[in-house]
C-alpha cells in the first residue's frame, strides 16, 4: 500500500504556545482515519497545514510522496469538506453551481448529476444554497469535494445544526466512499462511538499525538479511552 499521507515532525508555534508539537503519522491508501481530540487540541491547525492554508510550520507534509511545499499537484488529489461552510446567505448560486465550482475539467458536466444522485440531493440541484438545511448543505459540500474524483477526502465534522437522520446518512455515505470507492478518508469528529464504528484507524491529538493506530486497539484499551474522555470532558466543562 502506498502512503497517502505522510506527516513528519510537524510543529506549529504560535507566539505563546505550540499548537502542534512534533506530530508524525502515516495514512495508508484506503485507510479511514478518525482524528479525535478535545477543543483546542490542534485539529484545525493540523487540517489547515495539510490543506495549504497554514504554511508556517516546521516538519514535512507529503501526499503520495510529494512534499506539499514543493509540488502543487496535491490539490488535485484531495477533496475537503469544511466544518462550517461560510458563504453569503443570499449568494446567487444553486446546488449545481456550487458543485460545479469543484469541477476542474468543465467538460465533465455529467459528473455533477452523477454525484448529486449518489448523495441523494439531485432533486435539490436547482435550489439556492441559502435555502438548504444543515444536513443538505453538508451533502452539497461533500459533492463539491468529490466531483473531481479525489483520492483523499478530508472532512471536518460539523458539531451543530445537523439532524440525527442526516448524521446517519452522512455516516453511511462515508462508509460507502471508503469501502466501495476506496477513497482514503481523514475525518475529524467529536463522536467517539461513530469513530469506533466507521474508522479503521484513530489518531488522538492533544497538541502532541498521544495515540495513533488501529481503532480496535484504541477502543479496547479502557485506560486510553478514559484518558481521552476525561480530557475532552474537562474541556467541555471549561467551555460551559
Amino acid at each position: 500500500m502506498l502512503n497517502a499521507v505522510e506527516i513528519t515532525n510537524l510543529t506549529v508555534k504560535y507566539p505563546d504556545v505550540k499548537a502542534l508539537d512534533d506530530v508524525s503519522f502515516v495514512v495508508k491508501e484506503g485507510d479511514f482515519l478518525g482524528i479525535i481530540g478535545p477543543n483546542g487540541a490542534g485539529k484545525s491547525t493540523l487540517f489547515d497545514s495539510m490543506l495549504g492554508l497554514n504554511t508556517k510550520y516546521t516538519g514535512t507534509i507529503k501526499f503520495f510522496g510529494q512534499d506539499i511545499k514543493k509540488s502543487k499537484k496535491y490539490h488535485d488529489e484531495i477533496g475537503y469538506v469544511p466544518q462550517k461552510p461560510v458563504f453569503e446567505k443570499n449568494f446567487p448560486a444553486t446546488v449545481s453551481d456550487v458543485v460545479r465550482m469543484g469541477l476542474k475539467n468543465e467538460s465533465d458536466e455529467n459528473k455533477i448529476d452523477e454525484i448529486l444522485q449518489q448523495l441523494w440531493i439531485h432533486e435539490l440541484r436547482k435550489r439556492r444554497i441559502g435555502e438548504l438545511s444543515g444536513g443538505q448543505l453538508q451533502r452539497v459540500f461533500i459533492a463539491k469535494a468529490l466531483v473531481n474524483n479525489p483520492k483523499i477526502l478530508i472532512l471536518d465534522e460539523p458539531v451543530t445544526g445537523i439532524d440525527q437522520q442526516s448524521i446517519e446518512l452522512f455516516y453511511s455515505i462515508l462508509r460507502e466512499l471508503n469501502s466501495k470507492q476506496k477513497i482514503t478518508i481523514i475525518w475529524s469528529s467529536h463522536d467517539l462511538d461513530a469513530v469506533n464504528q466507521l474508522a479503521n484507524h484513530v489518531a488522538c491529538l492533544n497538541r502532541t499525538l498521544f495515540f495513533h493506530g488501529e481503532s480496535e486497539k484504541f477502543f479496547s484499551d479502557d485506560a486510553l479511552v478514559k484518558q481521552y474522555s476525561e480530557a475532552s470532558m474537562q474541556e467541555h466543562m471549561h467551555h460551559h
Binding site: P85, A93, T94, D97, M101, G102, R128, N148
Partner: protein, 272 residues
Amino acid sequence: MSFEILTYSFMHRALISGIAIAILCSVVGLFLVLRRYSLFGDAIAHSSFGGIALGLLAGVYPLWTAYGVSIVSALIITKIKDRYNISGDASIAVLLSSGIAAGLVIISFSGGFTIDIFSFLFGSILLVSVNDTILILALTGAILIVILLLYRQLLYSTFNEEQAKVSGIPVEKINYLIIFMAGITVVTSIQLVGVLLISALFVIPNVTAIMYGRGFKQTAIISMSFSVFSVVVGILISYIFDITPAGTIVLLSIGLLAITMGIKSAGLLSKN
C-alpha cells in the same frame, strides 16, 4: 420625434457605448457586490477624479491619466489593506477621499477648469466620439473574455476564498485581477454616468437581480437585462425631455429595484 432621434449618429454612439457599459458594469459589479465591495466602484471613481484633474493640468487626455491613477491606487490600497489588516470599508474610505483631495489640490493649482470637470463628474454619454466608442467596445470585449475564461476561478474565490485556495486556485492573484478589471470598468463608464453615480451601475441592477432567487448565470443575465434597459430607456427619455442622462438612468434602475421589492413583498418571488 421619438423615431427621429434614432437616426442621429451621436445617438447611435451613445446607445452602443451605453449598452456595452451597462453589460460590463453589471457583470464586474456582481463580483464586487458578492464580495461586499459594493462601494469599491465608488472609491475607484473618486480616485479617478484625481487622475482626471492631473490629465487636464498636464494637457493629456484625462481618461488616460484616470485609468493610470485609478488602477494603481486601487491596487495599492488593496495591498495596504491586506498588509496592515485594515477593514474593507475603511480602506474604501481612504481611497475615496484621497482621490478627491488630490484632485482638488491639482485643480486649485491650475486656477480651475470647472467646465471640463463637470462633464466627468456627471457623465456626457451624448458626446462620446467614434474613438471613445471603439475603446469602450474593445475594453468591454476584453474584460468579458477574461471573465469567461476564468469564470470558475472568479466565482469560486468570490464564494469562499478558503475553499478556493484548498482547490489550488491562486486566490490572491484573482483578487487583484478583479480590482484591476473594476478599475478599467469604472474609468470606462465615467463617460456614461460620471464619477458621482458610477457605483449605482455596479450595485443596483445586481441587488435587484439577486432578489429573483436564481443561480449565478441567470442572476448575471437578469442584472445585465435590467442594466441595459435602464441605460437605453434612460438615454432616450433624457434626450426627449432634455434632462440629465446619468440621473435618469440611475433613477430608472432604482425604479426596477422598487418594483422587484414590491413583487417580492407580494410573495410572487421565491422566499429566499
